[in-house]
């Protein structure tokens, strides 16, 4: 009986585990190994065993920590990802709250509108922004018309950090709205009534009740936005100027153009570690400072 139960467990969990081993764990280990190897003369990797000895070194790591340009790009990428997360949060919170408080029959439609952009190709949506922000579009003409009227030089909207940020926020917004909505929708209306009864005005009700209770949703949304935004390369490639290269672009460049695989691997590993450390720190700070019980405990209570 027990043996059968164990077999059943393996049959259920086996395929996903196998998939992750083959397509995630193994490539990740190959990449870690590659980061210690020497680049080949014509790109790729030099042979692992040369003249009978193992060729592993820390040269690529040394390069990352000595050439400050990479650290600068890293800091810039973290900055862009943080700004994206912040703007997404500011835009998504009222939207999610609105959907959570609208009549039940309208909610599905509103949620559908939030995820509707996913039905169209990611790259096509980025190219669409080229048209929206282009120099001949109504937006640029209006902005520059107003600037000219104020006696200011015209500014290009496209191929700028502005364009990159706008598109980063646009692409990641649904990933913030959905977890926030899922959280806010579960809030007990009686708590707000109680807070109001106990003397809390509208702002106090939000700040003392709704917001702290929504923190699990805020954390989930922030992680879902921050981590992908940190590694993105397509948006700066298409909409950014030469100054807007982010770490994702550099990694892509190392693998596909420079073909320095060990250095590309180093950058990828540093990116992964940085994302994990930042997300972990944020969660730890958030938990400690607000003294909130975990979401599971809140749900039980």
């Amino acid at each position: 009986m027990q043996a059968r139960a164990r077999l059943g467990r393996w049959l259920v969990s086996g395929p996903p585990v196998l998939y992750l081993l083959v397509f995630f764990a193994a490539p990740a280990l190959i990449m870690v190994l590659a980061s210690f190897r020497t680049p080949g003369d014509f790109g790729g990797l030099a042979p692992l065993v040369e003249d009978g000895r193992l060729d592993l070194n820390l040269d690529s790591y040394a390069r990352f920590f000595t050439e400050s340009v990479y650290a600068q790009i890293f800091v810039k990428s973290v900055w862009y990802a943080l700004l994206t997360t912040l703007f997404c949060l500011l835009l998504a919170y009222p939207l999610a709250a609105l959907i959570a408080r609208s009549a039940k029959k309208h909610r599905d439609l509103l949620l559908l509108l939030v995820i509707l952009p996913f039905w169209s190709n990611f790259l096509i949506r980025i190219y669409a922004w080229m048209i929206i922000l282009g120099p001949n579009a109504a937006l640029a003409k209006t902005v520059n018309g107003a600037l000219g009227w104020l006696g200011h030089e015209p500014v290009p909207l496209l191929f700028s950090s502005f364009a990159v940020l706008v598109c980063l926020v646009y692409v990641h917004l649904p990933f913030m709205v959905l977890p926030l909505y899922a959280n806010l929708e579960k809030h007990d209306r009686a708590l707000l009534d109680a807070a109001q009864d106990l003397g809390a005005g509208a702002w106090q009700r939000f700040w003392r009740i709704t917001f702290p209770l929504s923190l699990p949703g805020v954390y989930a949304g922030a992680a879902l936005v921050f981590i992908p935004a940190l590694g993105i390369f397509a948006i700066p490639d298409i909409l950014g100027g030469p100054e807007d290269s982010l770490i994702g672009n550099v990694i892509k460049q190392q693998f596909l153009e420079t073909r320095d695989w060990p250095f590309g691997s180093v950058l990828s590993i540093v990116l992964t570690v940085a994302a994990l450390v930042l997300a972990g720190t944020a969660a730890w700070i958030g938990r400690g400072s607000l003294g909130t019980p975990s979401s599971a405990e809140v749900a039980r209570a």
């Binding site: 007990d188 109680a194 809390a200 005005g201 702290p212």
Partner: protein
Amino acid sequence: MALLEIQNVTRRFGEFTAVDGVSIDIQAGEFFTLLGPSGCGKTTLLRMIAGFDLPDGGRIVLNGMDLAERPPEERPVRTVFQSYALFPHMTVEGNIAFPLQMAKTPGTAIPGKVQEALEDVRLTGFGKRYPHELSGGQKQRVAIGRALVTHPTVLLLDEPLAALDAKLREEMQIELINLQKEVGITFVYVTHDQTEALALSHRIAVMNKGRVEQIDEPSRLYSFPASRFVADFIGTCNLLEGAIASSSDGIVAVEVAGLGTVRVAAALPAAPPAGTIALRPEKIRVQAAAAASAAADRPDNHFLGTVTEYLYLGDVTVYIVTTPAGRKLETLLANSGAGRTKFFEVGDAVEVSWPVDAGHFIGQPDRSVSST
């Protein structure tokens, strides 16, 4: 002047009138209960006092001040919600401190007041716990402590004991009575449980279909119900109705189908054509038929019947006595006989009897409203 005056308050939801011209005066320091079946408008009335809902007509006046323009957070009124509505992300102390913080109490004064409130609701030592670490009764106490900590003028309680089991509910009832005595704050209590209302209240307003049927002290409500609804809703009652045969010298005789002429003490200025006698089961004397016929001191109302059902409840037994004409009367006897479990078996011939002042006469029309 009453502390809280509900003046001709009406609330409609579309076609449905939830509260229909209700007027109640509640005195300072009173434990006042709104009692009625679900949908009678008692909770709607409570929400209007708290400010979560506004009357379509009439006024709610507290301490001589019309509350119409004041949102809930600006009313000196606190509510204990049925679901407790404790803030799950705050400790017990945090919950109780919340209204103090909202009232801009100086930070140094808050811990002392919180401890005081914890003592009041017998939760000293539980301050650091989160709501999910408390039992139902403890959560209820936190909710009450949180509502009382700012010393509101009126405390509203919306079926606060409904979620507790029977034994705990009884304990909490006694605690509520003591607490109310201690703090001296006016309690307005909503419940559909008539025994709870009778046990707790100084006065009760019985509500039905958005209207007040009767406002009175518990014992008077039980003994002298003003309407058939009140008689039926509060406790168990035999309702004997029929045409009035005569009315003189403070005695009304009612022709009750299946029973006969029943006399009841009632001074009527002008006799209505028909009426109802409310007769509580415990006021009826039940005796074996053979023994009864000989008794010289038997009361004015006496009828023969047969025990057709009984409900043995331990301390008392409910006997259903059916007359030869098929009228059922519910009677109640304490199982007080020494050396025996109960008095009668199904099929026993018995005589039921009661004096003229055992029943209470309710005149027509049914819908009479009285207040004291």
